[in-house]
């Protein structure tokens, strides 16, 4: 079974992304939404850990949340941007979903 993980909190505010990275299996997908999108950005103290995760997990970010926060130009290579329709597709294409709040 392949799981979709959602992370909606900033990695600088809470440990939700950390816990998600620790407890998600290789081959699973992670979608960053709301304040979680800050984990998709280049040049932060956690960028390397996300790049590392991307070796075995697919990482997505919700485009509208990126746009809202004015950080469009800073998204790391390899993070795929999706809209809400894409978010729905990810939910239906994965076998199960877990939210890291």
């Amino acid at each position: 079974m392949t799981m979709l993980h959602t992370v909606n909190k900033s990695p600088f505010e809470k440990d939700s992304l950390n816990s998600c990275l620790r407890l998600s299996k290789d081959g699973s997908s992670i979608i960053l939404i709301e304040d979680g999108i800050y984990a998709a950005l280049e040049g932060t103290v956690i960028s390397d850990s996300v790049k590392d995760a991307m070796k075995t997990k697919k990482v997505y970010a919700l485009q509208d949340d990126i746009n809202a926060r004015g950080v469009k130009g800073k998204v790391m290579d390899g993070v795929e941007l999706v809209d809400y329709a894409g978010f729905v597709t990810l939910v239906t294409e994965h076998d199960n979903v877990q939210s890291w709040v």
Binding site: M1, T2, M3, D15, S16, S19, R22, L23, S24, K25, S28, N96, V97, Q98, S99, W100, V101
Partner: protein, 135 residues
């Protein structure tokens, strides 16, 4: 034929500072009546929900910790605690309530409900669930 799904309740928050711990227990108790394949995971600060000796008199809140001990009676007996979360907080199983259930298939023998698992083991378990409720 009714459907049986794997339900996992994920608890990541400490008790009393927020209501999530208590209100998640309420879901678990109601959910027990639906005869699904239920498991609980305590991760990050969620492990603090199970410490012994809660004394809430001074903060004026209801001490709901005895409810965990009753979970076995509701046939909620697959309780997983992440080893890394315990260790990061300097806790051992001795700091936590000893939760048990009685196996009617083995003459009501008392068994441990709690299993301490590694992150990798818990990740595997999480990946197998049909429904994951996060509070």
């Amino acid at each position: 034929m009714s459907t049986t799904k794997k339900f996992l309740y994920v608890n990541r928050r400490a008790p009393y500072g927020t209501i999530y711990a208590w209100e998640s227990l309420e879901v678990i108790l109601i959910g027990a009546a639906f005869e699904q394949d239920v498991a609980l995971a305590f991760v990050d600060d969620g492990v603090y929900q199970l410490t012994k000796g809660h004394d809430t008199a001074g903060i004026g809140m209801k001490n709901f910790s005895p409810t965990y001990a009753a979970l076995g009676d509701f046939e909620v007996n697959k309780i997983y605690i992440e080893k890394e979360s315990l260790e990061a907080r300097g806790l051992t199983l001795d700091d936590l309530q000893h939760l048990v259930w009685e196996d009617e298939d083995e003459d009501w023998a008392e068994k441990d409900s709690i299993k301490v698992v590694t992150s990798a083991e818990l990740a595997d378990l999480m990946g197998e669930q049909d429904v994951v409720l996060s509070f």
